[in-house]
């Protein structure tokens, strides 16, 4: 099949831009898994709530989503902390006391079902609050079109979304690598009991991780709102993609997730060109299946299954 060079370039750039968002959502998910051993199936709903909250702020206050998305991200992050304290805390404590494979399986299952329940609850909450009809977040940036060499043109909103995603990933990486709290998060991820022994308050680390993870997801939702429509079930599509990113990158591996995000975005763009856009979703899952077959620890390695 002959592919036009312009179309190919366009899909490459679009794929990389989408990949930036996948990376941002995936990194949050992989952090929760790495630090708290929690598979959070409600992760996509934080992305969705971030988008709707940004929409509400934009319509109520005026101003641009790219200024207000960080505000809603912080609000959603606080909701994440509250959830962590109210819902998950007692389960972590039970998990620490659990012994044997069956007990772990059981706790794993409980976490997964619990977060699925939360996801259903949040989707319906959004349905009640904002209605089922897809809406777009108004932004001045959407109407500016930037022309790139090679006959490519993209709306400024898309470029802004990519830049915000990139900046937040770089900030997060620097935070984890250089600050004391960042190091404590990595230590807890590697060995929670050892981290607790050297005086790290692991439950506080869980709160911080939850805050970073949920606010990153919410930020991604907010900055994508001016480009794509937002609707209550938008998180369900993204959470599946985010898990693909996390598994491809290696569960709990932050850099792996960042890379995998771009890989999946790019593969979807190219896959759409080759197989038709209706099979885009299949491409992502096929990559994940291949990774699970040939390199189950993920492209950069991660926690063992």
């Amino acid at each position: 099949m002959a592919v036009q060079p312009t179309l190919f370039m366009e899909q490459t750039v679009l794929g990389l831009m989408m990949g930036g968002i996948y990376a941002a959502v995936g990194v949050g998910l992989t952090m929760i898994f790495g630090v708290m051993k929690l598979s959070n199936f409600a992760h996509g709903e934080f992305y969705m709530i971030g988008a709707f909250l940004t929409y509400t702020l934009v319509t109520a206050l005026g101003g641009d989503p790219y200024l207000l998305a960080p505000v809603s991200a912080i609000a959603v992050g606080l909701v994440g902390i509250a959830l962590n304290k109210i819902v998950f805390l007692s389960l972590y404590k039970e998990l620490r006391e659990a012994k044997g494979a069956a007990a772990f399986f059981f706790q794993d299952l409980r976490f997964i079902m619990l977060t699925i329940g939360l996801s259903i609850l949040f989707v319906d909450l959004a349905l009640v609050l904002w209605g089922p009809i897809p809406i777009a977040i108004p932004s001045a940036f959407t109407s500016y079109v930037v022309k790139l060499p090679g006959g490519l043109s993209f709306s400024l909103a898309r470029i802004m979304a990519f830049i915000v995603a990139m900046v937040s990933l770089v900030v997060l990486y620097t935070f984890l690598m250089t600050t004391k709290t960042g190091k404590a998060i990595r230590a807890t991820s590697q060995n929670p009991s050892a981290a607790a022994l050297v005086g790290i308050n692991t439950y506080k680390i869980y709160d911080i991780t939850m805050f970073i993870s949920t606010s990153l997801a919410a930020l991604s939702g907010g900055i994508l709102g001016p480009i794509y429509n937002i609707y209550p079930t938008m998180g369900l599509d993204v959470v599946a993609k985010a898990f693909v990113v996390v598994i491809t990158g290696g569960m709990g591996n932050i850099v792996g997730s960042m890379l995998a995000g771009f890989l999946i975005g790019l593969a979807e763009g190219w896959g759409g060109l080759i197989f038709g856009t209706e099979y885009r979703q299949v491409v992502a899952f096929l990559i994940m299946i291949l990774v699970l077959w040939f390199r189950p620890q993920g492209i950069l390695g991660g926690r063992r299954r």
Partner: protein, 317 residues
């Protein structure tokens, strides 16, 4: 060993006979109640089949509705395009679903927890996309209407009350078979795999074989119930294989109490009735549904069956 099995079979047969007798006059309550009861029974088969995988083997599946849809589409297409009897079709649907179960089961042998959950979720998404996009075969998103009913000889299985008795017999038969499997050596081995795979391996259990077997058994009955559904509702669409449908089935298994087989039946009944009761409050329906899952998982992880056992023990003491 055989003696114990026979003893158990006799004892549980008594309960099944009792349940069967109690449920016989239900169609007298009218078409609406009969329809609800049929839906509960169809969901019971699916939820109980998932329990073999989740409750007995410890393998979480988030794509079980895909097998249900495979069974439904197989039987529908066979009967509508080739004129094959739906009775044969629902069995072929079950077999085809279990072939897909085998295909999914082999790579997932090594996977656990979230890994397996995501691959089964991915499988569900792929099946749904196929059903939507292979429109020359499946008529795409509009689905297939006008599916022939199950032939019932002298009985007209278009009528809800006749179909009810067929569904009752098939549901009890399925649950009985699943019950016998779970009580047999196979069931014990599956449970030993759930409890401790390494230990099971060390005493010479062929762990991969039994894990794949669990997939085959579980997906066969899911496909079978999908076929029954298709010939009862007489309309199917790709929405059957949606993630929300898989989660619905999983919720029944888990809220009912997994690893018990009876629990999923209770879960199917409670959630189906709850959906009906909450229908007037349509927009808040899933809010309550979601909250219920969260509450059960947080405070009563052994589910409704566990709660019932707890209450029975309280009353007896």
């Amino acid at each position: 060993m055989l003696g114990i099995t026979r003893d158990l079979a006799l004892r549980s047969a008594k309960y099944y006979a009792l349940a069967f007798t109690l449920l016989l006059p239900l169609p007298l309550a009218g078409d609406y109640i009969t329809h609800l009861a049929i839906m509960i029974m169809l969901y019971s088969i699916t939820a109980a089949s998932l329990d073999i995988l989740v409750g007995y083997t410890g393998r979480l599946s988030l794509g079980h509705a895909a097998f249900y849809a495979i069974g439904a589409y197989t039987s529908t297409l066979l009967s509508m395009n080739l004129g094959i009897s739906p009775w044969v079709g629902i069995l072929v649907g079950g077999v085809l679903a279990s072939i897909f179960g085998l295909i999914l089961g082999i790579p997932s042998l090594k996977l656990r927890g979230p890994y397996l959950a995501i691959s089964t979720l991915g499988f569900g998404v792929i099946v749904q996309l196929m059903l939507i996009n292979l429109d020359w075969l499946t008529r795409g998103p509009i689905g297939i209407p006008g599916i022939p009913p199950l032939p019932g000889g002298p009985l007209d299985l278009r009528s809800k009350s006749s179909f009810y008795y067929v569904a009752l017999v098939l549901t009890l038969a399925t649950v009985y078979v699943l019950h016998m499997i779970s009580r047999s050596r196979v069931g014990k081995i599956l449970m030993s795999i759930r409890e401790d795979e390494e230990a099971a391996l060390s005493v010479g259990v062929n762990v991969p074989l039994f894990k794949v077997l669990a997939f085959i058994i579980s997906t066969f009955f899911a496909g079978f119930s999908g076929g029954l559904y298709a010939h009862y509702i007489r309309y199917i669409s790709p929405a059957m294989s949606a993630l929300s449908e898989s989660i619905g089935i999983l919720s029944m298994t888990i809220i009912g109490g997994f690893g018990t087989l009876v629990g999923p039946l209770m879960g199917a009944a409670v959630l189906t009735i709850l959906q009906e009761v909450l229908r007037p409050y349509l927009e808040y329906r899933y809010l309550i549904y979601g909250a219920l899952i969260v509450l059960v998982m947080k405070f009563f992880p052994s589910g409704i069956y566990g709660l019932v056992q707890f209450l029975v023990r309280k009353v007896r003491a």
